[in-house]
């Protein structure tokens, strides 16, 4: 089942997500990308109801780029996080989106940052965050091994340890994972961790 997590390191932030599209006991697809590249310096990892996830992440992405076209300046990660929280909070009392978000971004003034946003519109600025069944294992792993001054290699190693733990302890562990990273040079895909071919 779903596993989305992320952490902030020294000058970068990374987000990891499983890539399984599941319906009941059936795996439809194992290469579903659940981390959207919002703009040049933002990553939005999302878990939850598949339809809501697609709808909400695209809605946010389009609004972020509309803002940029209108005003000539990009939204900061903080502003984008608060925008998402606001949208989720308004939806919450009408027709809630079932999505949980790990938002990672890099801003010139503030450097890398990570935000935890859940479907009931909770917003926290954090160093490490996780959602889904995998969170029980990845949070424990990160609590033990995380340091704020980690390099990219160290953080990737920790992410691998988390994935390893999920695979060995979670009954319904997903097969594949994707790792994305954001730093001063922008947001991009880092690598995949596969056990099955597509």
């Amino acid at each position: 089942m779903e596993c989305v997590f992320g952490m902030v390191g020294k000058g970068f932030a990374l987000v990891v997500a499983d890539t399984s599209a599941v319906n009941s006991i059936l795996v439809h697809k194992s290469n579903e990308d659940k981390i959207m590249v919002l703009d040049s310096h933002k990553l939005m990892g999302a878990s939850g109801e598949a339809g809501d996830r697609a709808q909400f992440t695209e809605y946010v992405q389009k609004n972020v780029s509309l803002y940029q076209f209108r005003n000539g300046i990009p939204l900061t990660t903080k502003a984008a996080a608060n925008f998402m929280r606001g949208e989720l909070a308004t939806a919450l009392r009408k027709n809630p989106y079932m999505v949980n978000i790990v938002l990672a971004g890099y801003d010139k003034e503030t450097g890398p940052s990570l935000y935890f946003i859940d479907y009931i519109a909770t917003l926290h600025k954090v160093d490490k965050a996780a959602f889904g069944y995998g969170s029980y294992f990845s949070l424990a792993m990160m609590d033990r091994h995380y340091r704020p001054d980690m390099t990219v290699d160290e953080a990737i190693h920790l992410a691998d340890q988390c994935i390893e733990e999920i695979r060995s302890r979670l009954v319904v562990a997903p097969q594949n994972f994707v790792i994305k990273i954001v730093d001063k040079d922008g947001a991009r895909e880092h690598s995949w961790r596969r056990t099955t071919k597509d």
Partner: protein, 303 residues
């Protein structure tokens, strides 16, 4: 057909309208004009004339949203005219802040104003504006601007970029020149503000909804004279103190009244104080001292 006749027949029309609506079947009114009446419901019927258009400008200036044959919007131009008679305001952008000065039109000695400033308004922690024009119109727009700024902070938890605030307000102003039926806002603004992307900024806006960023700008009475003086005396890299001095000098020379006193003036500054944006209004006492110091007025003689 001249203008007087048209307006008279308009009044006639309004008077006889109920009668006309009774006999909707025949589209010719008693006084011979052809009536174009929409079908039901009766309440929404409109009466319209089929007149030969006379090429007089007067036909167009009662409409805010209609171009004249020369391509002008008269109501908008009249609104700008109204501002030309209002107390003026000057804004100067300096390297460490923005300075706004305004001339208060003292209408009566007995008048007691409720607010401490009547031309300068704080829109948000990082933006302030000076007003020239009809104050009652300005109050509406200032409220709109304040709401826009707070809405933005509510959405993004970040102060609204200055240009976006100006733009949102100018969109409102523009709306009244196109979706009118009413009249445009008779107000020009000078916006002074700071944001993290573009630092200190000064914007000027007019009733048409046009706006632009300026290094030094003037609105209100004698704004052209003030503008040309500013153009001559403005230096790049001017300091805030020099900007205050320049603004006071220009205002004193372009004001209609002969003597410049602290009671007739307002001075406000936006600057950074320990990394935070500060909006400061100069007290009348300090303003009086400053006027003497800069040689704009002579020190009062004690008797």
């Amino acid at each position: 057909m001249d203008e007087d006749q048209i307006s008279v027949s308009w009044i006639l029309n309004i008077c006889v309208l109920p009668k006309r609506l009774e006999n909707l079947g025949n589209n010719t009114s008693p006084d011979g004009y052809k009536l174009i009446v929409r079908s039901l419901p009766v309440l929404h019927s409109s009466a319209q004339f089929n007149l030969d258009s006379s090429r007089s400008t007067l036909r167009y200036d009662s409409r805010t949203t209609i171009f004249s044959p020369e391509g002008r919007l008269y109501q908008v131009e009249y609104a700008m005219e109204a501002i030309g008679n209002a107390g003026s305001a000057i804004g100067i952008l300096s390297k460490d802040g923005v300075v706004l000065v305004g001339e208060k039109k003292v209408t009566s000695k007995l008048l007691q104003t409720s607010t401490s400033t009547e031309k300068m308004y704080k829109i948000d922690d990082h933006v302030a504006c000076a007003v020239a024009g009809i104050m009652s119109d300005a109050n509406i727009l200032i409220n709109t601007a304040r709401v826009a700024a707070q809405r933005y902070t509510f959405s993004y938890q970040t102060p609204m970029p200055v240009e976006q605030l100006v733009q949102s307000l100018c969109d409102t102003k523009q709306g009244y020149t196109q979706f009118g039926g009413l009249r445009p806002f008779g107000v020009s603004f000078l916006f002074a503000g700071w944001d993290k992307n573009y630092g200190f900024q000064l914007y000027m806006s007019d009733p048409s909804g046009n706006y632009g960023g300026w290094k030094a700008a003037a609105v209100g009475a004698n704004n052209q004279a003030a503008q040309s003086m500013l153009k001559q005396d403005y230096k790049e890299e001017i300091s805030r103190e020099e900007a205050v001095q320049l603004a006071l000098k220009v205002l004193s020379k372009t004001m209609d009244s002969t003597s410049l006193t602290a009671e007739k003036l307002e001075l406000a500054e936006v600057f950074l104080d320990g990394g935070k944006v500060k909006y400061q209004v100069c007290s009348p006492e300090n303003l009086g001292k400053m006027l003497v110091k800069y040689g704009v007025t002579q020190a009062p003689v004690d008797t």
